[in-house]
């Protein structure tokens, strides 16, 4: 079947300042990041939709031992979007080198960062970022 929204198309959306996902015509749920069917009911009758890009931090960590290719420290968080799905992103605008306050529950806006290709990445990547509102 035709993919409703591939990861490349999702990346291109982020680069254009849009958070794209799927809206299920069966149950009404949103699926972000995209997959082949609705994340809630498995339905394949879905349409591409633009989300508000707003959410709230649910949990986070400051990574101080980084994988090869990344420079610590930086913040990784899971945020719950207004439309329901959770999304992983890097929190920008704080100084992770110093102690980071508890940002759980803080409102954020989704942005993006382009990650150049390196070993085992299958080309360029686009990472979601969160900016505190």
């Amino acid at each position: 079947m035709t993919y409703p929204l591939t990861h490349r198309q999702y990346y291109e959306g982020l680069k254009a300042g849009k958070l794209l996902g799927l809206k299920c015509k069966n149950c009404g749920s949103y699926t972000v990041p995209p997959k082949i069917c609705c994340a809630e009911c498995g339905g394949t009758d879905v349409e591409v939709a633009q989300l508000s890009g707003r959410g709230e931090i649910r949990t986070f960590t400051v990574i101080r031992v980084a994988p090869e290719g990344f420079k610590a420290p930086y913040i990784v968080a899971l945020a719950e979007l207004e439309e329901g799905p959770w999304l992983m992103g890097n929190v920008d605008g704080l100084d992770p080198a110093n102690t980071v306050e508890d940002i759980t529950g803080k409102k954020v806006k989704v942005g993006h960062r382009v990650i150049p290709p390196t070993n085992y990445t299958a080309g360029e990547g686009v990472a979601v970022t969160f900016l505190l509102e």
Binding site: A39, P67, T104, T121
Partner: protein, 388 residues
């Protein structure tokens, strides 16, 4: 379905090894074969757990090499099984299925891994390949980072101050190191204190170095046989009473990660097959890749109510001699975590415990034991219940 028994187990010392992955597995497997009173030529199939052998030694397709190294017959299929850190438990469950179905009578399973060969940056990167490479990998998420987010969410959800939770997490490390002292095959055989944990450097806030299991090399192996064959081979068979395996999607899709739903599903399968409940388990080896991981696992397996696992550690309920001894081997924390071998090492410990061969770390009178192995970002969980 036929009854299936463990007739032999073997394990290398965990830590840092100069041996290759094939050599380590062959070491452990030959011990298991000899203990089973069989010859390698009697084995009808091999299921080999291995996570990152390609990165560690540039070695792909290791299973047939192990079979040949051991002298197994050419017509025995040898298959690599990859389920990240749960690889060996996936392998054991598959081996169980083939014997239970009646297709084979004697099957070898286990795993091998040489993670220290990679060094910390590449190891951190390759371990993180268990995350969603498209939607999480580019954020630089690490495996400690995933459990760090579990810890913070857990503290908030259950209204436990992060300071209090960290102290109880440290007690998990203290307990498992204390157990590891009594295990000659453990990577760390040295006691630590709560202060050791809380004074160690931060890996992924709030997890500190001693909240984390080490990178390890090692292998473990197990020989399974049908009940009829097992009775001919050994007077100490340990039976597999129940198995479960479940699967889940990426972290962001799982939402509330204080509850690892794949574990709850896998454990329910295993308990149902065995006709047992959490109260029937005498000893458990569970997936303590991080201290918080042990706490949430002890709840997911049904030993404690959700939100009560950290308090149980503080009360000593998970120590040897406690209500439900957890990780008497030292667990991944102290025994070590050569990822593709871990599930088989857990099986090794439970089998030895049920045979009463664990010396100073023996859980007295243990008759039913359970293993719990987690792979990837809570994506694969395997639970196996053993009994005598």
């Amino acid at each position: 379905m036929r009854r299936v028994a463990v007739v032999g187990v073997g394990m290398t010392k965990f830590g840092s090894s100069d041996k290759s992955q094939v050599e380590m597995f062959s070491d452990a497997a030959m011990e298991a074969i000899n203990e089973s009173n069989i010859r390698a030529k009697d084995i009808q199939a091999l299921f080999l757990g291995n996570g990152l052998g390609d990165f560690e030694e540039g070695q792909m397709n290791m299973a047939p090499m192990c079979a040949a190294e051991l002298g197994m017959p050419m017509d025995a299929p040898a298959t690599r099984v990859e389920g990240a850190c749960a690889s060996a438990s996936v392998a054991i469950r598959d081996a169980f299925m083939w014997v239970a179905s009646g297709f084979y009578d004697i099957v070898l399973a286990g795993g091998t891994e040489r993670a220290t060969a990679m060094g910390t940056p590449l190891a951190t990167r390759t371990f993180a390949m268990g995350s969603d490479s498209k939607y999480e990998g580019f954020n630089g998420i690490t495996f400690p980072g995933a459990f760090a987010m579990v810890a913070r969410l857990y503290a908030n959800k259950y209204g436990i101050s992060l300071e209090k939770l960290k102290e109880r997490m440290a007690m998990v490390a203290v307990k498992n190191h204390k157990n590891g002292v009594k295990n000659p095959l453990a990577q760390f055989q040295k006691e630590i204190t709560v202060e050791t944990v809380l004074n160690s450097f931060i890996v992924a806030d709030p997890l500190q170095l001693f909240d984390c299991c080490p990178f390890s090399d090692g292998a473990a192996a197990i020989v399974l046989a049908s009940e009829e064959v097992a009775k001919r081979l050994t007077d100490k068979p340990v039976y597999i009473l129940g198995v479960g395996q479940a699967s889940n999607g990426p972290l962001y899709r799982q939402k509330d990660i204080t509850r690892i739903r794949a574990r709850e599903a896998a454990a329910a399968q295993a308990y149902k097959m065995a006709g047992l409940t959490p109260a029937d388990i005498d000893v458990c080896e569970l997936h303590d890749c991080f201290t918080i991981a042990e706490i949430v696992a002890s709840e997911g397996l049904g030993f404690f109510a959700f939100g009560k696992g950290s308090e149980a550690v503080e009360k000593g309920e998970t120590a040897i001699g406690g209500r439900i001894p957890i990780n008497p081997s030292g667990g991944l924390k102290a025994k070590g975590h050569p990822i593709g071998a871990t599930g088989a090492a857990q099986a090794y410990e439970i089998v030895k415990q049920l045979r009463g061969e664990c010396g100073d770390r023996q859980v007295k009178g243990a008759r039913v034991g359970m293993t719990d192995t987690l792979g990837g970002d809570f994506a694969t969980v395997v639970n196996i219940i053993y009994g005598i």
